[in-house]
Symmetry: C2
Subunit: 533 residues, 2 copies
């Protein structure tokens, strides 16, 4: 779902502080044996759970991806599985708001989605990195159609309120000029023999060649306005056809402004493994994955079960829940084992009979807040006027980013973009507003990047994760310290109960974390159940 360390650079001091903090985590994990440099996550193939004892029962709590996957694989292994779900819908945080949907958040505000038919927004997960092989495996197995999600767009905008007079800059301009000036400065130092203590003569030559090519420097190792540089950052008058086809090169952004702007942060951001190309999204909305999982296990799910207690002894597990769909009667469900995928933000408030250390672990992980806003406009002005097809524009305003749709390119009629996606204090500020105020704030901020906003706006919808009764937040945010103290304990099989979900993974806030956590949890539970562990 979200990146784990989002940031919105605002002032120089914040910027420097942030970099200091991030750099401090660098030696977090120590090197161990050298292994084959595998890409991606830790998925190779689904587990083979053999030898399950006939008649063994398993209760799965929660029908998000982790819960449904546990149910799917454990039934396949021969277990008798039942799933209890609080909502009247399977999928958990994997869902999509479609035209005509409506919902009420904690605090009572209700919204309905007024998008044109077929338009949608994903309030939760919305993109899938290429290395999330566990999730991609099940998408393929369950027949979920995927299409590319465009993350990096060289023609999108980067915006900082206090840089360039508040004027948004094209990603390609910032990238070209940042690289060019960096190459120019390093070349200068190398040419003046100021790095001879670390560079032997051959490498000096190679570094100079690299800087000249990579940074598009001229023959004097200067980064200057030129046709060649404009072949990267774009021309003032583009290349054309016919008699007046000659292009005119574009002016460069000043070096000191580029460096002070902090806009280079977004170049950096998109180099993260989680943001690299090729990403994917399901055709028609992220909920296509939840629906495909649900298709496999729908006969196992009971909806409207509000769990209040999880007890266990040597003989089995007993789960107490309120049957919301049948007069709120109290029900006790029993099984031999339990896979609990309830988010820790909820679980920490229930009566759960596990060891003291695991209780401490369940209470140790705060949940991030996050707000997303979907905006529908009368036309794709970002395509038609700005030549932006998919990808993301970033800003240091609270809204943080605009993600343009990676589907329906070039189509006419109304279209929806992600008009805000924020974490931290901005998310709490926005959660404190009415839905109307959120839309107004996002229109105000978005207009700084796209002046067409007000004129083309049709309607919008907002989703504040801190106001969602079934998660009370967006996803787990492990601190380094909590991870050291509590993580292994949280993942252990506690007698007959094991936890699963993105919170029980190193890929927090992503669906892949839920998938891999679930596979690991059921593999270990299975071993316990057959007496192998």
């Amino acid at each position: 779902m979200p990146e784990q360390h989002p940031f919105t650079p605002q002032t120089r001091r914040q910027l420097l502080t942030r970099i200091g903090v991030a750099a401090g985590t660098a030696a977090m994990y120590q090197a161990m044996t050298a292994m084959g440099h595998a890409a991606g996550t830790d998925f190779t193939s689904p587990p083979t759970l053999t030898g399950a004892r006939k008649g063994t029962t398993v209760l799965v709590l929660g029908s998000g991806l982790a819960g449904m996957l546990a149910a799917y694989e454990m039934r396949k292994a021969g277990y008798n599985v039942r799933v209890l779900e609080f909502q009247n819908r399977a999928g958990g945080r994997n869902f999509t708001l479609h035209s005509g949907d409506s919902f009420t958040e904690l605090g009572g505000a209700s919204q309905s989605v007024k998008f044109a038919p077929g338009n949608y927004i994903n309030p939760g997960p919305w993109r899938i990195p290429y290395h999330h092989q566990g999730l991609l495996h099940y998408c393929r197995e369950f027949g979920v159609a995927l299409e590319p999600f465009v993350e990096v767009n060289h023609n999108s905008y980067l915006h900082a309120t206090n840089a360039f007079g508040g004027k948004p800059q094209r990603y390609r301009d910032v990238m070209s000029d940042f690289n060019g000036y960096t190459a120019e400065m390093l070349s200068k130092a190398v040419n003046q023999h100021k790095l001879d203590d670390i560079l032997h003569p051959d490498e000096r030559e190679h570094v100079l060649a690299a800087m000249a090519g990579w940074g598009t420097l001229d023959s004097s190792y200067r980064y200057v306005k030129s046709d060649r540089v404009s072949q990267r950052r774009g021309f003032a008058k583009p290349q054309g056809g016919g008699i007046d086809g000659a292009p005119i090169p574009s002016d460069l952004l000043p070096r000191d402004e580029i460096m002070a702007s902090g806009l280079w942060n977004w170049l950096s951001f998109n180099m993260r493994l989680e943001m690299q190309t090729t990403m994917f999204q399901p055709v028609g909305g992220m909920d296509q994955i939840g629906k495909a999982f649900a298709k496999q296990v729908k006969d196992l799910i009971t909806f409207g079960c509000k769990v209040s207690a999880i007890h266990q002894d040597d003989k089995g597990v007993s789960v107490t829940y309120t049957d919301v769909n049948h007069g709120n009667r109290t029900v006790e469900a029993k099984a031999d084992y339990c896979v609990c995928t309830i988010p820790l933000s909820i679980l920490s408030q229930l009566d759960v009979q596990v060891s003291g250390p695991m209780k401490a672990a369940i209470a140790a992980v705060p949940y991030a807040s996050s707000v997303k806003v979907g905006l529908e406009f009368n036309r794709r002005f970002w395509e038609e006027d700005d030549q932006i097809y998919g990808g993301i524009s970033f800003t240091d305003q609270q809204m943080s980013q605009i993600s343009y749709p990676s589907h329906g390119y070039f189509s006419k009629g109304k279209a929806v973009l992600l008009g805000a996606y924020m974490f931290g204090s901005a998310a709490y500020d926005f959660a404190g507003m009415t839905p109307e105020q959120r839309i107004e704030a996002v229109l105000e901020q978005g207009s700084k990047i796209h002046p067409q906003y007000r004129k083309e706006f049709s309607n919008g919808v907002s989703w504040a994760w801190s106001r969602v009764p079934w998660t009370l937040g967006c996803c787990s945010m492990w601190s380094e310290q909590a991870r050291k103290t509590h993580y292994k304990t949280l993942c252990e099989v506690d007698n007959r109960v094991v936890l699963a979900g993105e919170h029980a993974s190193y890929i927090g806030c992503w669906q892949e974390g839920a998938i891999l956590s679930s596979l690991d949890a059921i593999t270990r539970l299975h071993k316990r159940a057959i007496g192998a562990a």
Copy 2:
């Protein structure tokens, strides 16, 4: 179609020489008035050609995109248009080889395409940059469905025969390490006050912050193996779920090898305006564009017309051609005006009655050679084994690159990739081979990157542009000198004849060049025809 300045770095000397040459062109165009920094090409909207005289006739030679667009817009403007086409197919270099197609190249070698039904390869143009707004406009107008073409793939391979023991490296590893070492070196110079002559104290601080963040340096401004760096280049043991989910960071590539390898050239290559994200391809093959254009003007086209002479006087134009489809009879077609889109490689051999300077211009532009090879494999091992979805792997071997299909992701069964795309001497070497030898050479070279090649190979097809009778090459390659001397003359309306095509544009070798050239040519011809120029 191809990039204008392709290169395959091979030795250090070649590398340094090449960079020197490229840097020399930097100040090619001089700055003129500061204009709004428009993106993309020189297209805003289709021309409005008003006031055409009733009954005026126009002969268009060639039914590639330039010719068909000229026919379409001039008929709309009220002209009586006819198109003469040499082949028995419209589209020109816009075409696709589908399963079951067959062809014979100059020299007599015949090939048939043995791909599985539905599979294809585009021997000519294959991708559309976001700023090719002229072409995109007509795709939209004519209803051509487009899908993203993935150019940059952070998980593809970069390969240099003499670097890293010949082992291909992941794009993300090279990118991360190149950026990291660059940032580390520049930080060192800045920290040691060796660039104080150009950096004032504030900017020093900003540059250090930028290098630390962009280059993922540690708190001592070092680029070192760490969890944080692996968040960009990938882990040795990836992040996982459950109890053993902790990742293990990956080893870095050595700085001097990265710098000496020349692999950074490909990072640079993908920053070019022409290669930036978002790119597109038509769903089903590039020929969908040619077919959509042809649908608009098919009633105007006569096929099998081998033009031998273009004459003109004060009263009109006379074109002599051999009617290949009707007993090779000689025919003379007459019209008031002529738009000639015949490639210069062919036109320079015909009897064309234009001014001496224009004749010289027609003869002044050499055509590039290029070879493409399509390979069909039994399965998508690049996806299944290597987690590469679309994008391009680059190598310094003759084959130059492997472009993985940007469609049909995750599907089972046979799939086709572009197994070679080469220019220059490599293209001539390959054109000199038999089709079987080409496939063998590409399998041999490609196995260096994908050891699965031999085992999974099904069949292949090659296309050598220098052996194509209707173009005798791939596309125009203007030298800087020829451009200065001949370009304007080539584009001028010569009495009643005007030339159009990618060769009459500053976007040579791309379809957009053909589109913009055609629009400019007919706009000026129209002015001439109504007496306004």
